[in-house]
Amino acid sequence: MTVAGVMKQFQVVGRKAPTEEVANPEAFRIVLFAPNAVIAKSKFWYFMHQFRKMKKSTGEILDVVEIVEKNTSQVKNYGIWIRYDSRSGTHNMYREYRDVALTGAVTQLYDEMAGRHRTRPRSIQIIRTAALKTEDVKRVDMLQYTSKDQKFPLPHRVHQAKRGAKALSDRTFTTVRPTTFFK
Amino acid sequence: MAIFVATGGPKKAPKTAASKGKSPRMYPADDVPVPKKSRKATKAAPKVRGSITPGTVVILLSGHFRGKRVVCLKVLKSGLLLVSGPFKINGVPLKRVNPAYVIATSTKVDVSKVSVPASVDDAYFARSEAAASAGEEKFFKGDASKAVVSDQRKADQKAVDAALMKAVGSTPVLKQYLNAKFTLTNNDRPHNMVF
C-alpha cells in the first residue's frame, strides 16, 4: 500500500479460479483496512498469499464491500494490535485511540506510526482491533480522557485573524506580539 | 494572333442587365467585393437586468460622473438607461448610461409621478454632426465652439427634476445619499457587499 489517507474498512471475498478438477474452490474472506477498494483487493492477495498457495493471477475476487460503522455519534476507545517492520526488524505493538469510528482510530494509527516511527503504511499489518470498555483501557494518555469529570483549559492558543487581516501566525512580519492567553 | 478585349478601364463590375431580367453576358474580370447582406431581423433592444427598474438608484462606474448615485428613470430603446441626478442634487443631468457600467442598488425612488417628455429618446441625445467632427486643430486654436446646453434640454431637465425632487424629498436622508459619492475604502469587499 502506497498511500494511507483516510482509511476505510473492507470485507474482501476471493478464491482460486475454478478449474475442471476443482469446479467450486473454497472462498476466503478477509476484513481489512484500506483507503479504497482497489488497494483493499491488492491487500487481500498480499495476505492470502501468506496463508494459502493463491495469487491474483490464478484467483478471482468475488466481492468487495465497505463496512461502514453505524454508530458514529459516541466516542469509543479502540485497541489495535499491529505488527510492523522497522528498519531493524519486525515488532508487535499494541496501541489505543479514541474516536467515533474504528476507521478513524486506524487512520490515527497510520498517522502516528508514520510520525513516531517513520513507518510507511506498507510495513504495517493490523492483527486485531477491539472496542474497549473504559476499565480495559491500558494506556495512560487514553485513560486520562476516560475519567468521568475530566476538564482542562486551552491555555496557549494563537489568536485568530482579525477582520481583514491575515492571522498572526500567517504573517511574515508583524509588530505586535500574539496574545496567547485566553480565559 | 492576340485578341484584344476592351475592358473598359479600371476594376469595376460591369453593369448587370438587371433591367431585362437577364444575367450578365460575361463574368466580371476581377472580383469586386460586395458587402454581405445581414439576414438578421432588426435587433431587439438589449435586455436590462431585473434589478434595474424605473426608480432604482444606481451607482455610475465610469465616465465623468463615476461614483455618483443617480436615479434611473427608464430604459431607452437602445438598451441604455435614462438617468437623472437629479441635477440639482449631484450635478448629473438627464443622460444615457450603459447598464454594464452601473451598480444597481436595492434602493428605489418612487418615479410614478415623474413624466419624462416623449421627445427624450435616443435621438435626443445623439451628438450632432458638427460636434462630432470638431477637429483637434480647431480645439487647439481655441476657436472650437463651446458646447452650449440648449434651452430645450434645460427645460426638460427642469420638468423632470421638479417631480423627481419631490419624490426624493419624501424619504429622509435620501437627498444627502444621492449627493454623496460612492467609494471603496479599506476592507471593503465589493463581492461581499449588499447594494
Binding site: 485511540y97 474516536d99 476538564k151 | 449588499v194
Partner: protein, 133 residues
C-alpha cells in the same frame, strides 16, 4: 492567572471555522487532547461532529450534561439552564449579531448608519466641549 473556560462535557462553544461557522455547539465528549465531539442540536443545528479545539471558541456557558448526551437531553439541559437567553444577552453574541446586521445592510442603509454615527459623535463632541469650558 485562573482559567474560567474549560474543555469539558456540557461546555458551550462557538464554531469559528468550516460549514458550521458561527453556530453554537455543546461539547458532548472529549476525544483527546486535540479534538472533541460537539453537537449543535440544542442551538443552531450544527451536526454532531468531531472538531478540533482550534476550530471552536469556548464560552462562559455550561450546561449539565452526561457524556455522549443525545439531542433530546441537550435541548432539555439548555432549556433548564436558559442557555440560549444567556448567550443572546452576552455582549459577544450581540457583537456578532450586530456584525451580521451591518454586513446585510444595503448601500443606502449603510449611508444612514454613517450619518447617524456622525451626528452622534458631533453631539458627544459638543457636550464634551461644554464641560471643558
Amino acid at each position: 492567572m485562573v482559567f474560567e473556560r474549560y474543555v469539558e462535557v456540557g461546555r458551550v462553544a462557538l464554531v469559528n471555522y468550516g460549514d458550521s461557522k458561527g453556530e453554537l455547539v455543546t461539547i458532548v465528549d472529549v476525544v483527546d487532547g486535540n479534538k472533541c465531539l460537539v453537537d449543535g442540536a440544542a442551538a443552531g443545528g450544527a451536526p454532531r461532529q468531531v472538531i478540533s479545539y482550534s476550530r471552536i471558541n469556548l464560552t462562559d456557558l455550561k450546561v449539565a450534561l452526561g457524556r455522549g448526551a443525545k439531542g433530546k437531553a441537550q435541548k432539555a439541559a439548555w432549556k433548564a439552564a436558559g442557555t440560549q437567553a444567556a448567550w443572546d444577552s452576552s455582549s459577544w453574541a450581540k457583537r456578532l449579531a450586530n456584525k451580521k446586521t451591518r454586513a446585510g445592510l444595503n448601500d443606502f442603509s449603510k449611508f444612514k448608519v454613517m450619518c447617524a454615527k456622525k451626528s452622534k459623535s458631533a453631539a458627544v463632541a459638543k457636550k464634551l466641549k461644554s464641560y471643558k469650558k
